[in-house]
């Protein structure tokens, strides 16, 4: 409640003269990010989602250091159910599932985060150019986006999966990076479209006109004046695209056209254990639980971010 006063109050200038303003000192002016942070922290599910996501990232990237069983070792008893030594059991080859899942989670998150970063960067730049330049540039970029969106993203990635490029790269042992690249190729389209729409309306605003009148260069206007006003939408989109990338990657790895051994991912783990659901259910349900956890955590976080960054969308006062 106090924060509604805060952004507008400039403790020095705005106060009427001759009045003691020290009583207002308790409502110190907050920066916008502080307001956003407070709103986000009040959203309990979002905080929970973020905590879960941070925990999963720690498990994925640091977990291997603390878990002593090697993922390559096949010396354990086969198909042993979850126990003290193997909390997630072992698979049909006698590999420890904890180390498998940690490794799968790392690859899945690694792919998803790279996809989110690359597609956001490309989408924002191209969307901003299209929206600001208009005319031919816009026509080419927008029509191209419309065109590619005619084919479902999953189908594009599946068709590319057997290209000679993926084969060459697959042999050099970085198949996961190729999958990340193909996914980014599809994911930037929606982000570019959203950013273009926002830039298109922002470029007509008075503050942009003022910046132009003062002789600001195109680059300066776009990156200093227009894009900061789209940051909320970009952040939310980027967050949610991580979840979507995890799910899409898992789906194509499940069909057998995504990540391939020696790389792995949660989707591939499930694919390898798809026939074990009846007899050895832990081999299926544990990677599955991790996929759901990742995407739930990110979706909660994204919802909270959306509410925190843009309170107008909420009907209830935060």
């Amino acid at each position: 409640m106090t924060e509604f006063l805060a952004p507008a109050v400039d403790p020095g200038g705005a106060a009427p003269s001759g009045r003691d303003v020290s009583q207002f000192d308790s409502t110190e002016a907050r920066k916008q990010w502080q307001v956003v942070l407070r709103r986000f922290l009040r959203h309990r599910l979002a905080v929970f989602g973020m905590a879960l996501f941070v925990f999963l990232i720690l498990v994925a990237f640091a977990g291997g250091r603390f878990w002593t069983h090697d993922y390559k070792s096949l010396d354990f008893p086969r198909y042993s159910p979850p126990s003290g030594d193997h909390p997630f059991g072992t698979d049909g080859l006698g590999a420890d599932m904890v180390s498998q899942v940690i490794r799968g989670l790392r690859f899945s998150l690694q792919i998803a985060i790279i996809v989110a970063l690359v597609s956001t960067a490309v989408g924002v730049v191209l969307g901003a150019i299209a929206g600001y330049k208009r005319g031919w540039t816009d026509a080419i970029i927008s029509r191209f986006i419309d065109l590619v969106l005619v084919i479902p993203g999953l189908v594009i990635v599946v068709v590319l999966a057997r290209s000679s490029f993926s084969n060459v790269a697959g042999k050099s042992g970085s198949n996961w990076a190729i999958v990340a690249m193909y996914l980014s190729l599809v994911f930037w389209l929606t982000i570019a479209r959203v950013v273009r729409g926002m830039v298109l309306s922002l470029r007509e605003k008075e503050f942009v006109e003022a910046a132009r009148a003062m002789g600001g260069s195109t680059m300066r206007i776009v990156f200093k004046h227009i894009l900061p006003n789209t940051v909320d939408v970009i952040i939310v989109n980027a967050t949610l695209s991580v979840a979507l990338a995890v799910l899409t990657e898992a789906a194509i790895s499940f069909i057998g056209l995504g990540v391939r051994p020696p790389d792995t991912s949660l989707g591939l783990l499930i694919n390898q254990n798809r026939n074990e659901l009846n007899l050895h259910p832990w081999l299926f349900f544990i990677p599955f639980a991790f996929i759901v956890m990742v995407s739930l955590a990110i979706n909660f976080m994204g919802d909270g971010l959306r509410d925190a960054l843009d309170p107008r969308q909420r009907r209830v006062r935060a």
Binding site: A251, V292, S295, N299
Partner: protein, 332 residues
């Protein structure tokens, strides 16, 4: 209105042509369909040349595209080209597979829409009730659920259910490996029995995933409308709550969902690919996966073109429906 529709239809023709070019480019990026054949054992140059000629790979890209496009328009969608894959007619196979998929997808999509809209409307009318929280939570989980896991679990439950039926002296009703090859036959009741057994599990999968999207959209748009001034006016006039909700609010809240429904077909097709893989349906999904694995360019092209036409048509319907439901946007 007629002029608006004609203009929209005309715009989608160049889009379709451009899409066909893009699809062709995509299939050439798929790699050499003869690659594996060449690696099986050393081939003489004459053999390679003959195989390339048969596959039509000996000409430059644009010429191949022109050749394919002219034939495609005339109804010849070419055949499989890989040596050892035989000469399967693409058109025949793609159309048959798309019929299999369409039966599954359209029904599931319709059920998902009805359930989603109902749940969304109730959730908005009773905002913050127990029902609303449960429905939102469930939709959230379904939103984050990998479809293939859901499908695998449903399949397992289906098999258990069949075992249960058999143990109690019934036939195994649910089919977990595609619809019966010979089609459905027998009396009407028999046919309904077979039909429902084949369709029920994959349909549940697709409905569970899609309804989450629809219910969330419907809830948001219904909330929007419920807070609008004209709804408050209607309430102030003293109309009954049911009349306000159904006559004034609900109709307007359906406008956005109509577009979402049409634009969502891309997701539905992806969903169908996964579901068909799990349940062993010989539909579009299986066709795509096996054609990509075999690197059959014309088969993949057939898939892409049918999908593309379907989605362009759905987008067209979305535009027209929108103009029909909301007269304001016809003025552009």
């Amino acid at each position: 209105m007629i002029r608006y529709i004609i203009r929209r239809v005309l715009i989608s023709i160049p889009l379709l042509v451009a899409a066909s070019f893009l699809c062709f480019g995509l299939t050439t990026m798929m790699g050499d369909p003869l690659g594996e054949w060449k690696l099986q054992r050393p081939r003489t140059p004459a053999e390679v040349q003959a195989a390339e000629q048969r596959a039509g790979m000996d000409k430059p890209f644009l010429e191949r595209y022109g050749d394919w496009a002219v034939n495609f328009v005339q109804g010849d969608w070419k055949t499989t080209v890989g040596p050892g894959h035989g000469t399967v007619d693409v058109k025949d196979k793609v159309l048959r597979a798309s019929w299999v998929s369409a039966r599954l997808v359209l029904g599931a999509e319709f059920i998902a829409l009805v359930i989603g809209v109902a749940i969304g409307v109730i959730g908005a009318v009773r905002q913050y009730s127990m029902f609303d929280y449960t429905a939102t939570g469930f939709a959230f989980v379904m939103f984050s659920m990998p479809l293939f896991c859901l499908a695998l679990m449903i399949k397992t439950v289906g098999i258990e259910f069949n075992d249960f039926l058999q143990a109690n002296g019934f036939d195994r009703w649910l089919r977990t490996a595609g619809p019966p090859n010979g089609g459905f036959h027998g009396s009407f009741v028999d046919q309904v029995y077979q039909y429902s057994g084949a369709f029920i599990l994959p349909t549940i999968c697709l409905v569970m995933i899609q309804f989450a999207v629809y219910s969330r959209f419907q809830r948001a748009s219904m909330l929007d409308v419920m807070n609008a001034d004209y709804v408050r006016t209607a309430q102030a006039k003293g109309l009954s709550q049911a009349r306000v909700i159904f006559r004034h609010a609900f109709r307007n809240a359906l406008i956005p969902i109509a577009t979402v429904f049409a634009l969502n077909f891309g997701t539905t097709i992806s969903g169908a690919i996964i579901t068909e893989t799990v349940f062993g349906w010989q539909g579009m999904g299986q066709l795509l996966v096996s054609a990509v694995n075999d690197r059959e360019p014309y088969m993949v092209l057939g898939f892409l073109m049918v999908t593309g036409v379907f989605i362009i048509f759905a987008n067209l319907m979305a535009d027209i429906m929108y103009a029909f439901l909301d007269p304001r946007i016809r003025l552009d």
